[in-house]
């Protein structure tokens, strides 16, 4: 009998705790700017969740509400089973935040920054120092431990910033644009870190403007724009919602764009998707067999093809299809 009760009780608690973050109709305005316009999110415990959106979409605002830094105008947000508006103090004991701009003290050394955070979390001096050393080692910052942070590279600073959120490993970690401004190698390191953090059981909510980043890291993602969720699901689902199969052609010569589009249209009719990169053409397929015809048609038209692939549409295309404008990472690529 008593055993049954226990099972029921633990089942109830499991059910209650399976979502690390839940928001309903979350809204926030700054003056006349509607930064969040009714956001519903559900993040499962232990997962990596991506908030994807362009500049000004409301990503930071959402994170600031969820980490108790600001209050929502309306709606509800539950973090770690606690209402952020009613129990902000208790929520702060469950979350870690690495903000959009490296929030470490540049005048202090790497060790000192981590000791500072450790002390503010309630560790003793010696525990804080021990934990700081351990983290610096794990984050490949041991050599720079005694150096002022102002001498760090962008990637080192970012790693220290993330380490500072892990002095006590939180149940839920918020990372606001963790790789913006990093070079590819540093970005890879951060990705690797995020995966490892998630592997150890921490729920990670990260924001990004990079579609490939969300695609690689997040099990589920929400695309937000102008404070609204415009699409939600796994990246596979999002891609599928735009079209099951697509052919991607990278041109070797930008002047052949029109010729190439013509050649593709001859086979597929009206299947070409809007793209932000002039060297790239993507088109929807009704069957994979059409791909061969497209290739033949391109060859006959004398188009130089640098790359040719068949697959689901890229998240860039998903974004374009959903918002009608290219994502930031795509526009940046064009400018480069």
């Amino acid at each position: 009998m008593s055993r049954d009760y226990r099972t029921v009780a633990s089942l109830a608690s499991i059910h209650r705790m399976t979502n690390a973050i839940e928001t309903q109709e979350l809204a926030k305005s700054f003056g006349t700017t509607r930064a969040l316009d009714g956001i519903d999110l559900t993040v499962r415990e232990g997962s990596v969740y991506g908030l994807l959106g362009p500049n000004g979409a409301g990503k930071t605002t959402a994170i600031r509400i969820l980490t108790t830094l600001i209050k929502a105008d309306s709606g509800r947000a539950i973090v770690g089973g606690l209402d952020v508006a009613r129990e902000p103090g208790a929520v702060r004991r469950k979350v870690g935040l690495t903000g959009q701009y490296a929030s470490v003290d540049e005048d202090l050394t790497g060790t000192e920054n981590l000791v500072l955070v450790g002390r503010l979390l309630g560790l003793s001096w010696s525990e804080a120092r021990r934990r700081g050393t351990e983290l610096l080692e794990a984050f490949a910052l041991s050599d720079a431990a005694a150096r002022q942070v102002r001498t760090y590279s962008g990637g080192m600073r970012r790693r220290l910033d993330i380490a500072a959120s892990l002095v006590i490993v939180p149940a839920i970690l918020f990372l606001d644009e963790p790789t913006t401004g990093l070079d590819p190698r540093a970005r890879n390191q951060v990705w690797d870190l995020v995966r490892r953090i998630a592997n150890e059981g921490t729920t990670v909510l990260l924001t990004t403007q990079y579609l490939d980043e969300a695609d690689r890291l997040a099990e589920r993602l929400a695309v937000i724009d102008h404070g609204k969720v415009i699409a939600e699901g796994t990246s596979r689902e999002l891609k599928a919602s735009v079209g099951a199969n697509a052919v991607h052609v990278r041109l070797a010569d930008a002047t052949q764009g029109d010729a190439a589009r013509e050649a593709i249209t001859r086979v597929l009719g009206d299947g070409i998707m809007p793209a932000s990169d002039p060297m790239m053409i993507s088109a929807r397929l009704t069957s994979t067999a059409q791909a061969a015809d497209v290739l033949t048609s391109l060859a006959q038209a004398g188009v130089d093809v640098a790359e040719f692939s068949v697959g689901t549409p890229s998240l860039d295309e998903v974004f374009l299809a959903l918002t009608g404008k290219p994502s930031k990472s795509a526009t940046e690529e064009v400018e480069r």
Binding site: S103, D107, L120, G122, L135
Partner: protein
Amino acid sequence: MRETDGLGDVRGVLRAGERPAPPSAFSAVLTHAWRAMLKIKHVPFQLFDVVVTPIMFTLLFTYIFGGALAGTPREYIQYLLPGVLVQTIVFITVYTGVGLNTDIQKGLYDRFRSLPMWQPSPLFGALLGDVFRYSLAGSIIILIGFIIGFRPGGGIFGVVVALGLILVFSFALSWLWIIVGMLMKTPETVMTMSFVFLMPLTFASDIFVRLETMPGWLQAGVGRNPVTLLARAARGLMHGNVVMSDVWWVLLASAAITAISVPIAMRLYYRER
């Protein structure tokens, strides 16, 4: 895959462990004060920076105008030094606002406020550090004074009490800078505000010349400037001829400024940014 390159073994290090009880308010404040001390240690130039100008002023005034203003440079330094001490420390109070504004802009306060600690502890900790900085700067000025002939009649005790009184007033003034630091958009504008407020406050005082030498209409205003009262009290304490009412007025002004600015500062601190 070379994705792991550079990173050490993070397994275990990233596993959620026991969470300690949050620190007491007192311990959190001390930790923030420790941070302020580290900044003095790592950026000593900042301290040097704020005492160089007053030292130049002291030397210039003493040796160029000293004779004309008080008979001899040696006599003038006895009058001037307590005032320069007041001016120096009152001027440094702006750095409370500049530092706070910088930290907020950099996002450091976002991190602090997401931690489970007594929320205003960064303000109080920084302030403790600032008071330490004021004493350090003050001591340097007094030391230079001794070297160039300052001989206070009130002895060391008088000097220490005078410095204490200046610290009390500067502590109160720092709260005003905390307010300014939270209202302004950039550290530079906070700095500009110091010229708007502190220049008139310190120069329209009797720090450099005696009140009696000023025209009557000016005396009325300058005589009511709290900086004049503070300089007069500091001179009195250092030379052993203090008028107690000056001290009381300074303490009253400090209490009034604190009582008004602390609630405003707290409200601004909890306000959204």
